[in-house]
Amino acid sequence: MNPSRPLFTWSLILIVGFLTLCPVLMLLLGSFSEGLTAFGVFTTSKYVAAYTDPALFDVTYNTVVFVLGSSVLSTLLALVLAYLNTRTDIPFKPVFTVLSIVPMMIPHLLFSVSWALLLNPSNGLLNVFLKDVFALQEAPFNIYSLWGMVMVEGLLNMPIAYLIIAPAMAQFDVALEESSRVFGAGVWRTLMRITLPVLRPAILAAFILGIVRSLASYAVPRVLGMPGEVDVLATYLYEMISTGFAPDYGKAAALGMSVLVASISLIVVYRALTSEGGKFVTISGRGFRPAVIELKRARIPIFIGVGVLCLLMIVLPVAVLLYTSLVPYSMVPSARAFSLMSWKHWIEVFQDPVSLLALKNSLFLAVAGATLGVLLSVFVAYVIVKIRTRASGLLESLSFLSFSFPGIVIGIGFMWFFVQTPLYATLTALLLAYIAAYLPYGIRPLASAFVQVHAHLEESSLVCGASPLTTMRRIIVPLLIPGVVSAWILMATMFIRELTVSVVLSRPGTEVLAVQILSFADDGLWGKLSALGIVMILISTALVLLAMYAGEKFKALQGGS
């Protein structure tokens, strides 16, 4: 019905292009410049400095181990959980849904902190406890190490991998397996020769997404790596721009280029894999259910294993934070500890002007950022889904590209930009950078909402005699609302906890929650940290629950198609 409206499409390309490409271009130009104040003065010395630094070898090694290790862990865990949930008779299946959603509510920063509180070598609760019980000389675990980082990052990325693998497994055509059994292969052989190879695109996609995410991960290496001086690229980059007297944004930009190129290549591979996935999808139509495999005697032990995982991922982090926020200083839970509990840290946090400012800033960024972000996403999603021209394809690629950008690199790119403008050290700068970095999170739910609004739904309203405006009001908007709501809430939760972009761009006066929590961590103020952290978790949880409630509400309203 609509002509392609090239002007509209191109102005969107301009906006999204600015948000996506500005940090990249500034990063590129910056990497060839003398310094923030000498922008545009050409030099290659930053590349020489960045890539000849002897420390880079160790950093690269750590990064590779961290990234691959955590991705293998998250993919394997997700695979096992998805298999158990979709194909076996394990009890209490709703638990799996909880496992896949809850980490959305617990920010990575706080998850890492809670593990530090549990397993740090000097006074980690679990370490102290084990030392007392077994009369050990030294702490049995040290979370401030490469394996600690791998474990925590792996647990954090597991839900994403699960959300990719589980649907693929649920759609698996059981006839493929049955025919293998008929031809004489056992359960195990069938799993290895048929099931896993057919699921390969989904598994690879989950693995690569894990790599992209852990490469961009800053919270885990910052909290668990820095105390033990285990640097990965993200923290190494941050140290370059933060170490007090001589921050070198040029060198950081030069190194950041490699990280960016690696991420973009990976996301291109990921995209190719997920679009190629169509070939392998084996949905054979209506109403079939894959045969359920009986676990028999292993049923209960395996369930207990899943239960322990839930405990590790959900209960423990929150419990540790809550406990730490109430006791005066780090101590193993005991009668005495409980008798000493007080609201001291909570009161201090709510009397701390910087914490209050951070809370205020974060709330503002979440509300304003999510609103603007969703507004932009609605238009972009409309163009991507409904206007199929070459220009809209360009827009789609642009908006997907930023999905791969590591926050810290984008932050550095934006720093080069904002320093040249009056926006430097303002909330507006953070707002722009947030929207740029998280735009795909708004576009994706809205694009799928638009896909659901089949052109015929719109057209039949017109044929029935409704004007385009009435059609918009009575048909399109009501069908889009669920998408808008979930996109808004998704963006808002992202912004409430945002760390990696903020850590580069936040300045005194524009503190945000995550940055403030990090500064408590640096000062060892674990009690205050925990109190503020729980506030953050509560806000995130409230938003996610609201999203689920709103989703159910609209589903009921629409009869859940």
């Binding site: 017109l462 044929v463 005699g465 385009p468």
Partner: protein
């Protein structure tokens, strides 16, 4: 209402090439008939329908509905779809998922601002008409495919339009349901005094439902006629081939014999349906398998001016109600349907009777 289309063209670009979706289409759809646009996918039938309803804008030409010009390049008229007052059933049904069955059907009336009580009555009547009572409160997307189809029909009928358009409305149903729904649809439309334009690629659907069929190819209308005319007496080889299974054999006109045309072909000299063709001109002989009468080995006497030819049964295949046999007559191969009782087996010589009125001459 009558629909008149004159010189309608619509081009679009696809992968760098210009595709003629509609190429100078002239068409008159008579009032109060079921008129079917039939053709393979990509022949332009859906584009033509969407131009009539106003969802697609043609490049050239004019469309008149009941005498009123709704689109004309030359006159600069373009009535938007919502003001053409038509009803339409979409291929996907386009049932709005956020509304109940009642709201879906009531929508066209609500848009017109009719009184609540009138709406209630009319919706009830429309739902009763499509035999879908008692589901008003249900969410429309919870219904089965066949029921959704009826909701879509009720919605298209509720405002009593003079013209209703169908865009492959049965193609999303499974085979059995499709047949049932087709019969119902025929009954429903028979009871209404309405012009129905029906788009399909299914020849059985077209034959069973229509008063008239227009067969389309590559943006043009090849032939228009009643289902019987299209099936038994098509003018074009393309139409004869598309509408049913046919043996197509090259032939040359040899002359006249009474009111029959005589041709020479690989089957020998045959009397065919009368055609106004000059002697010596090339044509295609079209014989449908069901009109090839195989008489077994012995009998060979011509009856009532029928053609008799002889051939050898090359292969036989049992398909249920009949055997399908390939019979070689000289260098030509004929597909025929043999009665299961006929005492014939592979390799036998048989005689074949062909009634002249079923020996169709079509343009190549």
């Amino acid at each position: 209402m009558e629909i008149q289309i004159e010189g309608l063209s619509k081009h679009y670009q696809s992968e760098g090439k210009t595709v003629k979706a509609l190429d100078q289409v002239d068409l008159t759809i008579p009032a109060n008939e079921i008129f079917t646009l039939l053709g393979p996918s990509g022949c332009g039938k859906t584009t033509l329908l969407r131009c009539i309803v106003g969802l697609e804008t043609p490049d050239e030409g004019e469309i008149r509905i009941g005498g009123e010009v709704v689109w004309s390049r030359a006159k600069g008229i373009a009535v938007p779809p919502e003001r053409r007052g038509l009803g339409m059933v979409f291929q996907t049904y386009a049932i709005w998922p956020h509304m109940s069955v009642f709201d879906n059907v009531a929508y066209p009336l609500q848009i017109r601002g009719e009184a609540k009580s009138v709406i209630r009555d009319k919706v009830a009547r429309a739902l009763k008409f499509v035999q879908l009572e008692g589901v008003e409160k249900r969410s429309a997307t919870k219904l089965s495919g066949g029921q959704q189809q009826r909701v879509a029909l009720a919605r298209a009928l509720v405002a009593e339009p003079k013209v209703i358009l169908f865009d492959e409305p049965l193609s999303n149903l499974d085979a059995k349901l499709r047949e049932e729904t087709r019969k119902e649809l025929k009954t429903f439309l028979g009871e209404l005094n309405i012009t129905a334009v029906y788009v399909t690629h299914d020849r059985v659907e077209a034959l069973a439902l229509s008063d008239s069929i227009a067969v389309m190819r590559a943006g043009r209308i090849v032939e228009i006629g009643s289902p019987q005319k299209i099936y038994f007496n098509a003018d074009h080889r393309y139409v004869a081939d598309f509408i049913g299974r046919a043996n197509l054999i090259k032939a040359r006109v040899a002359g006249r014999h009474g009111d029959l045309t005589v041709v020479e072909s690989g089957l020998g000299s045959l009397h065919c349906q009368a055609r106004d063709l000059p002697e010596g001109s090339e044509a295609t002989l079209c014989i449908r398998p069901e009109f090839i009468h195989v008489d077994g080995v012995a009998s060979a006497t011509p009856q009532g001016g029928q053609n008799v030819i002889h051939g050898r049964v090359a292969s036989m295949e049992f398909v249920g109600e009949v055997y399908e046999a390939e019979i070689h007559v000289g260098a030509e191969k004929l597909l025929a349907r043999l009665d299961p009782d006929l005492p014939v087996s592979t390799g036998d010589m048989v005689s074949i009777r062909l009634a002249p009125q079923h020996c169709l001459l079509v343009l190549a």
